[in-house]
Symmetry: D2
Subunit: 283 residues, 4 copies
């Protein structure tokens, strides 16, 4: 059964919820879920509404036009999605493959509503897994000299596969502005620390040397500044003086998988709105 | 600033959200928050909507009448609350006073929107705390012979103080049906285990003997069957073989305080709906 | 580098720690870790000591004999293990394969010090995974009529592969006493609830219907009574009224993997001692 | 019953555990608990051993002298404590009183083995609580001009009360080197963030603006560099976009209480060893 999902943000004022839910009602839609949030600091209204298209009297092609006057009236930033239109995903990975494996397995179990079209890596290690799961694999080894050219190659492949979103599943290269520009708030990274603590390289070692009693993992949208984009999800696990660096890595990898998976799933389910370098998540 | 809060449950069908939010809009109300949930198994719709009464064109006394036709149309079970009308609370306690202390301190900090009117105990231990916080104290020692008469005394006091809700903050007596009847879904108990595990007496000892690796606490509405009412909140904490029974008690008491406080606060904020011996919590 | 690991339990009295650590010292061993615990209720002493065999003046074959007088003096129940002697493991599984996959991946990553020799299932689903990871697969479909004969077949295979421990990675059959007798405290099960709550069949549905706010998973040694053996590890995750039964399953499967993995790893590292239907875990 | 507790750190080599436990044994002591840890990076050995003094053949006054040769042989840094000798504690507090209240209540419940001798504040707010619990209160209002003189006054009071350890229970002043010098690794602070994230002022606001999905609290020993001393304990709690700054404060205060209490209790139980700006905690 196809659903429509509407994500809205606009200045808060009276009557928005009534207007939006009425729009769905008068066209015969049955609301499956409706969530709203008001950020009082910025007086911004956020809404996610999902309704069944069964008996809806507008075809999917005509909903945008029909909604436009209402959107204009309230100065909305908005987007419309359909649950049957599965986003096309590319996964970037380097040598640590646990997150890649995890995403592929969950996808196979039906937990991730998307098409995984492409795996890109600067190493060959993931090739055999890509083959095992029947996903196209693109190896792009990167040196300072080749980085620019390789990214062009990657962009071409992303374009050819009509990729909607990118997951950096432990990809140890910094994407250049060129790629970022094509995927605003559509690239999700997993960072293996509890951000903003231990941004940058080797966060488990940083945590180990600091002697923290809890480690974390953070998934966030990628922005120009390293590890500084809007945080989508975080989780933590307890460590003790008994845990060597290798134990932090082992414990942390469980977090990475879970935290990245949650962020990707919520993105695919259109449950995330970004504002002010933060996220609203209608979980 | 006074807010109105409407809690609704009814059979799900098209147009409920639109109708309710439109009702608020046409009378000039500004929605602060709106949450809904659909239980698919029973096809039941739940909603909580809170709006500011500033510029609302109906006086508080007239809202119910104005809403009635809409409520009838959708066969709603519903209740209307006002944030400025602080519920009147009675706390029952026996000899463990940590939960009582915690509620009184949080109330003093402004975290609990209510009036604490009465403390009732079958022991004298809490008397000095009641005095310290300026709350009326009623001592009702209970023996099998006096139980009935004492409960009558308690009921009278509850009635005289116009009590809206009761908190059992480690009260080690079973309330009789007589009291339960007067406070349906308005008596909150804290049980010191992760229900349904270890219902009944001495749950920490039960947990210790079973050798569990995690203990918990559960707050729930009180129903006739012991420790079996709708669960409002639970939380857990890790224990090890090193923890003696006294350590379980110590760790558990931190949980009890936090879990009971959350449940009471959500109840006071009118965030809880009961159905089917479960709770919907619009946190 | 080979290590020796000694697990000891005996009545508590003065001088046990001194005697054991002195035994290691006089033979030239360097202690890597030493843990002890005293259960005050039963006055039982538990110890785990691990030392490097580099420069140890007894060969592995002679340690037992050398230690025997000391063990007798203190009436010890004890076992001696060597880190280079990898336990031989069999995994039983039915149709849910996420735990099996997880164990195989962790083993491949070097996180589980064992040899996975055998996968046994009452269904064919795991066959392809077994092949992928190069593990022998034995399919034993079970009906009430064939159960006895199939278990004989399983026992033969376990014997032939010299299996040391069995992991029930979501195996939906009850093992008969015959198999249990051969592997006392050497069969680990994962139960998908927070035991002792929701023992038996379909625990996610039980949890859903009860309306708990937290679900859990429990790994335990298998004993004759269903889901009642010594608990090794538990963990929990929060759920809300928004989570349908399928969400409980999804969230719970992450717990199952993590909790089962911890229990198996600790067992393989010889960190678990059982007593009184409980476990001491020298993590 | 009086116990002796020995905390040891020294370069790792063979025979330390045997030597120490043998020392206890030959003098007739019964070991209650013995823990050890080896930091492989620095090859440092840490030990905590606690034994009953019942039937011990050395008086408390003579244990140090008797142990000295052994300590010298292994180049130990060590300290000896007795459980009946309750540490004398001073609590510093400013205007947020929830941690102070919590420590006093737990002390009254018998959870903190110490004498609370003194409460010092730069404000008068805590005066009434100090009186309620019968603890001496010293008000030292601080301005840039008076800071030096006031700290002299504080030092005098600390000396007069023979204070062993200081707890900064939300004390919003930076202690000068003068006080730090007198209490090395004996001043515990609670910082209301998950350090090293959000050190310095107003951490809840920092966390709110960053949009983190989890907040934390950290207790640590105070060193010269702000919020940078050895971490003793941390804990975290989940927040969402729905939580306003005030909610972060409310949720965080529960963490602060629990985390500070754990750290203080472990310190009082002599379970903490410091090295390399980190802590070993024999919990």
């Amino acid at each position: 059964m196809n659903h429509a999902i509407l994500l809205i943000s606009c200045p808060d004022r009276k009557g928005i919820t009534a207007a939006v839910t009425n729009f769905v009602f008068i066209h015969g839609g049955n609301i499956i879920s409706a969530d709203q949030h008001i950020d009082e600091q910025s007086n911004t209204f956020f809404m996610r509404v999902e309704w069944s298209l069964k008996d809806f009297d507008l075809s999917t092609a005509k909903i945008e036009t029909a909604f436009l006057p209402l959107a204009k009236k309230f100065s909305m930033a908005w987007s419309l999605y359909f649950s049957q239109q599965l986003p096309r995903v590319a996964i970037f990975v380097s040598k640590h493959l646990h997150c890649l494996y995890d995403l592929l397995l969950r996808h196979r179990q039906g937990q991730l509503p998307c098409q995984i079209r492409l795996i890109i890596s600067n190493h060959a290690d993931a090739k055999v897994i890509a083959k095992e799961f029947g996903v196209r694999f693109l190896e792009c080894p990167i040196t300072p000299q080749t980085k620019r050219a390789q990214e062009q190659k990657e962009l071409l492949a992303l374009k050819k596969e009509k990729i909607d979103m990118i997951v950096l599943a432990r990809y140890h290269q910094i994407l250049t502005q060129n790629i970022l520009n094509h995927f605003p708030n559509r690239i999700i990274n997993i960072h293996h620390s509890f951000l903003p603590a231990f941004a940058g390289g080797d966060p488990y070692r940083q945590a180990y040397q600091k002697g923290v009693k809890i480690i974390g993992a953070t998934s966030h949208y990628v922005v120009r500044r390293l590890d500084a984009g809007p945080i989508i999800e975080q989780d933590t696990v307890r460590v003790t003086h008994r845990d060597a660096l290798a134990d932090l890595v082992r414990k942390g990898q469980d977090l990475e998988r879970i935290v990245l998976n949650r962020a990707v799933r919520w993105h695919l389910q259109r449950k995330i709105l970004c504002y002010n370098n933060k996220t609203v998540i209608f979980e």
